[in-house]
């Protein structure tokens, strides 16, 4: 109790309000520094396979010899279908699968997003495992078009060959589904939605044949044309929609088999050259974080992960000496491992950052960095709450001695007796000030609701008008804070306390959103937290109370407000996204189209975070900053 009352007494100390900005800064710098040390050997770990049942690379693979001729034949069959319509193409592919005694079905899908019509057809076949009871299944996918839009000639041919090859084995204790999807993102999404009966029948046809619960999925992306192409490395893509990741065991098994058993090098996050130096590890990790933070579908496997089906894509890259048979053997060995699974993947990590094919950090190690960044907002918010409860007539500690004039108007004092000690303190220091909550709460809440408007517009505008909409959003959001601050000043003229409370609630909400988000999508929370971190230091500048010497900041508050607001305008989420697209040389319209497709098809909610958490916080901060101009 004594300790508690000491702590409570401490909050009366004027010095306590000086600490939080430094503490916030420390949190932000700490969060960044934390992330930067992760690639070091001391903080990251080597990957390992936790699930004993997997036994990666312990079986001999037999996919060789005459299978190669069959593969080449199928590759020409695939090449003959390039010009055909999806229905004709899938009839032909279905006939090939049917000739191998598999049950075959097709599925049509048609989505509408940004005024575009995304329609195509999936074809799939089910191999009933000779030792299986149709309760579990694993999926082998090849999308007709890969993520780059190329036709996946060899990938589709490999799936056809493996279907024929797998059918002859008697050891499968799970059903195997071979899926040739119409495209790389929406096709698998339509299929997996329909598999779990969570599709809308207007857009997606129901599946006529099904198998058991999906245990894992592997996609093959090998766009080499009918005359083949030897590749150098396997690029393993593992990001799911909304930044969800597959179980690390699946990734490790793939790396283990490819590099250990087959001698194929593995790479990730487009790091074609990786020297295992600090710099490379950091770049890999940051690329992984950006990809996770954007939350977009990165391959045919992405749609499976939200259904808790662990999935990866194996992509061939570079020029080298590995051929299609080694890829086929890798897939065979991977499926033999998956076939061994006794339970659903659960042993290893679901939250990790990879920095090399065999090095990772787990959530316990990296989560604090996003958390301290989220906490920095909460700290500032608490400090602003305390500050808003302070009486505004509180005299500064140093001010009385400066000029003799001040001595005339001594502030009213109170005598405090406690435990036999007597002290004289200014009455203002122990007064409790009532806080007007209505205006700040109404402002912050309506700001968050205002974010629904751009969210709706960007998800539903047709593609040709998107550029115009984005430019309008850029200009509107840039001037809106100034106009709002002016309007507030004319209508009401919010007091310093109210302005402080606006900033307090806005940061409180931001801190809360980011802390909750960090548990779901660490990278997005971290990136938004970094981009919004200057908001912790935004204050509305007001003239000093009467009878007090004005400091530098209060005297030049107009100039500081304008400069601060202009600096803050560069952190407008709309501008930040634009700058990022310029940096990476991507068209912003493409991003918006992808985002709208994600919203309507994949269930992506990155834009919800941008418009309902990040943008309102920036807007409230800018209004607070501009309000200094009008005092």
């Amino acid at each position: 109790m004594a300790l508690l009352s000491t702590v409570l007494a401490l909050r009366r100390d004027p010095r306590i309000l000086k600490v939080p900005p430094y503490l916030s800064l420390l949190c932000i710098l700490g969060g960044i520094a934390w992330l930067l040390v992760l690639p070091l050997n001391e903080y990251s770990r080597s990957t390992y396979v936790s699930e004993n049942a997997l036994l990666p690379g312990q079986v001999h693979t037999y996919f060789t010899g005459s299978e190669h001729n069959i593969f080449r034949a199928y590759r020409h069959e695939v090449a003959s279908q390039v010009e055909k319509s999806p229905q004709e193409r899938n009839n032909h592919l279905g006939d090939i699968l049917r000739s191998n005694n598999l049950r075959v079905a097709t599925q049509n899908y048609e989505y509408h997003a940004s005024g575009r019509n995304i329609s195509n057809q999936n074809v799939y076949a089910v191999l009933q495992g000779p030792r299986a009871d149709a309760t579990e299944a694993i999926v082998l996918i090849a999308a007709w078009n890969n993520m780059a839009g190329e036709i996946n000639h060899s990938g589709v041919a490999l799936v056809l060959t493996l279907a024929r090859y797998f059918k002859r084995w008697s050891l499968w204790s799970k059903d195997i589904i071979f899926l040739i999807s119409g495209d790389s993102t929406s096709g698998p999404q339509a299929w997996v939605d329909a598999y779990h009966d969570s599709h809308s029948p207007d857009n997606v046809e129901s599946l006529s044949i099904k198998s058991g619960a999906l245990q894992g999925a592997v996609a093959v992306d090998y766009p080499a044309g009918p005359w083949g192409h030897r590749y150098d490395k396997l690029h393993i893509v593992y990001d799911g929609v909304n930044g969800q990741l597959p179980n690390l065991d699946l990734f490790n098994t793939a790396v283990n088999i490819a590099s250990g058993q087959m001698g194929i090098g593995c790479t990730l996050q487009r790091m074609w050259k990786h020297d295992d130096k600090y710099q490379d590890r950091l770049t890999t990790m940051l690329r992984g974080m950006i990809s996770q933070g954007l939350g977009h579908a990165s391959g045919p496997h992405s749609s499976f992960i939200p259904y808790h089906v662990d999935a990866i894509t194996l992509q061939t890259v570079g020029d080298g000496w590995h051929d299609e048979m080694s890829l086929g053997r890798t897939v065979e060995s991977l499926f033999r491992s998956l076939n061994n699974l006794l339970e659903h993947f659960h042993q290893s990590f679901f939250f990790y950052l990879l920095m090399q094919a065999n090095r990772f950090v787990s959530i316990g190690t990296y989560l604090p960095s996003a958390m301290v960044i989220a906490v920095n907002f909460s700290i500032t918010s608490i400090a602003l709450w305390v500050a808003s409860g302070r009486s505004t007539s509180m005299p500064k500690l140093a001010s009385p001695s400066k000029s003799p004039k001040d001595k005339k108007e001594n502030p009213p004092t109170t005598v405090v007796r406690r435990n036999g000690d007597i002290s004289i303190v200014p009455t203002a220091a122990i007064e409790i000030t009532e806080r007007p909550l209505f205006l700040p709460l109404a402002f912050v809440l309506s700001t968050h609701f205002l974010g629904l408007l751009p969210l709706y517009i960007f998800n539903n505008t047709p593609k040709p008008s998107l550029f115009l909409a984005y430019s309008l959003a850029m200009s509107m959001t840039s001037v809106l804070p100034f106009l709002t601050a002016a309007l507030l000043h004319i209508l009401r003229g919010p007091t310093e306390q109210e302005t402080t409370l606006i900033q307090c609630f806005s940061l409180l909400f931001l801190g809360m959103f980011l802390a909750a988000l960090a548990t779901l999508n660490f990278s997005l929370s971290f990136l938004v937290g970094i981009a919004a971190s200057p908001l912790s230091f935004v204050r509305g500048l007001y003239p000093a109370p009467k009878g007090e010497v004005e400091g530098f900041a209060t005297r030049n508050r107009g100039a500081i407000s304008v400069v601060g607001s202009l600096l803050l305008a560069a952190l407008n989420p709309v501008i930040v996204i634009k700058v990022a697209t310029l940096y990476w040389g991507i068209d912003v319209v493409d991003i918006l189209v992808k985002a709208a497709e994600g919203w309507h098809v994949w269930g992506l909610w990155t834009q919800v975070v941008v418009w309902l958490a990040w943008w309102p916080a920036w807007f409230a901060g800018s209004v607070v900053m501009w309000s200094g101009l009008f005092t």
Partner: protein
């Protein structure tokens, strides 16, 4: 006149928001009805529909062990068109329930019983919010809105609790007893509100009439009235279902906790982990704990019965076996009646931040546990602990403030001095 116009505007706005949510997002009701935070096994609308189906097909609604709600809800809801095809009528009923609840809450606020009772007049009793503001706090509370959209039957229980409080604070004793008996019939634990509300009713009566009624006969008459009214409700139920087995399926479930579906309360995790041999003992302990607040608070805060009743609803929102955000919504809507205590409360920011954080992290952690599969039950349980902590801080802090307020009246010389808890 001005108040009337404001009130009409408020009710129209609240109804419009709900209608908008019902019509603009047709999948929202079933989404919310499936959330464990909103719907518990004893209040879920989906289970009500199941019971309704069995009832309209002349099967006992309690066969199958899904439906655990009061039997009289069934004929009421069977009058409405089938909700799966024509949800509009049901939605209107729930909107009306919320509006009536707000109306009752505004009556409580207008009675002024929160700050000035027969035996006690707070020194800050001029500090209060208008009844319209308090009604708005109830109607636009996101938890109330979510409960309404999810069409959880706890909205009905809340309505009758609020009506019982309103009638008690007006001294309308017969309607008070009737409303409270319906509340107790629907969700059992509001029975514990009877003593403080009876005192409230007695005080309201005594201030109105010149001569205070005899306390003993007053208590005896209305206790008997409660027994009779509750008894007749139960009797009608037994006639309706033609057996008494509904007692075991409704109150038995509330008492003995056979359904361990997660909720925002503290019981489910504890009883999941427990060895069966200790179950009965701890059920007893938990229930005694809940019930024990009633006599203690009623005696200590004899002079502020409405505050006791409010605090008890807070206790229910934390410590009953199947709480949901509807119970928290009721408590948090009643707290603004005690605006005069706010200057004395010390942890408002802490408590409201805790509740806010918990209401965002709760769904996130539930998602990690159930859908993503990357978390486990401890994630969600930890958040329900935080949620309960937030509510307990409000309960504890407001209790402190109420006691301090009494002290300020009794010993004005101590006003503004620091006090120590011993």
């Amino acid at each position: 006149m001005l108040i009337d116009r404001q009130k009409a505007l408020l009710f129209a706005a609240a109804a419009a928001v709900r209608l908008l949510l019902f019509t603009a997002f047709p999948s929202l009701p079933s989404l919310l009805a499936g959330r464990v935070e909103v719907s518990t096994p004893v209040t879920s609308f989906k289970r009500l529909q199941e019971g309704l189906f069995l009832y309209t097909h002349d099967v006992s609604p309690y066969d199958g062990g899904v439906y655990h709600q009061a039997p009289l809800l069934l004929p009421l809801f069977s009058l409405l068109p089938n909700t799966s095809y024509y949800p509009f009528a049901t939605n209107l009923v729930y909107i009306a329930v919320d509006l009536l609840g707000a109306n009752a809450l505004m009556q409580i606020a207008e009675s002024g019983q929160s700050a000035t009772t027969r035996l006690f007049k707070s020194s800050r009793n001029d500090l209060r919010w208008s009844s319209v503001a308090i009604g708005a706090g109830f109607l636009f509370n996101p938890f109330t809105v979510a409960t309404c959209i999810a069409r959880s039957t706890s909205a009905l229980a809340n309505l009758f609790i609020l009506m019982a409080m309103a009638k008690a604070s007006q001294g309308a004793s017969i309607t008070f007893v009737f409303a409270l008996s319906i509340a107790a019939y629907l969700s059992m634990h509001p029975l514990l509100l009877f003593p403080p509300l009876l005192i409230l009713c007695y005080d309201a009566r005594a201030t109105r009439s010149r001569q205070a009624p005899n306390a003993f006969t007053f208590t005896a008459i209305y206790a008997l009235g409660l027994v009779v009214s509750l008894g007749s409700l139960l009797y009608i139920s037994s006639v309706l279902t033609s057996s008494w087995e509904f007692l075991a399926s409704t109150y038995g479930v509330r008492l003995l906790l056979p359904d361990l579906t997660p909720n925002v309360g503290l019981w489910w995790y504890f009883f999941t982990e427990m060895f069966d041999s200790f179950r009965e003992f701890f059920l007893g302990v938990f229930w005694v704990h809940v019930a024990s607040y009633m006599p203690g608070l009623t005696i200590r805060l004899r002079k502020q019965p409405l505050f006791v009743a409010t605090t008890l609803t807070g206790i229910f929102a934390i410590f009953t076996p199947y709480p949901s955000i509807a119970d928290a919504a009721l408590y948090l809507s009643l707290v603004p009646l005690f605006r005069h205590l706010f200057p004395l409360m010390r942890y408002t920011f802490l408590a409201s931040s805790t509740i806010l954080y918990a209401s965002f992290l709760g769904p996130a952690f539930y998602y990690l546990w159930i859908y993503a599969g990357s978390g486990n039950a401890n994630f969600f349980y930890a958040i329900t602990l935080v949620w309960s902590l937030g509510l307990s801080v409000v309960v504890g802090d407001s209790l402190y403030a109420a006691l301090r307020d009494e002290l300020d009246v009794e010993r004005p010389e101590l006003r503004g001095k620091e006090v120590k808890r011993i």
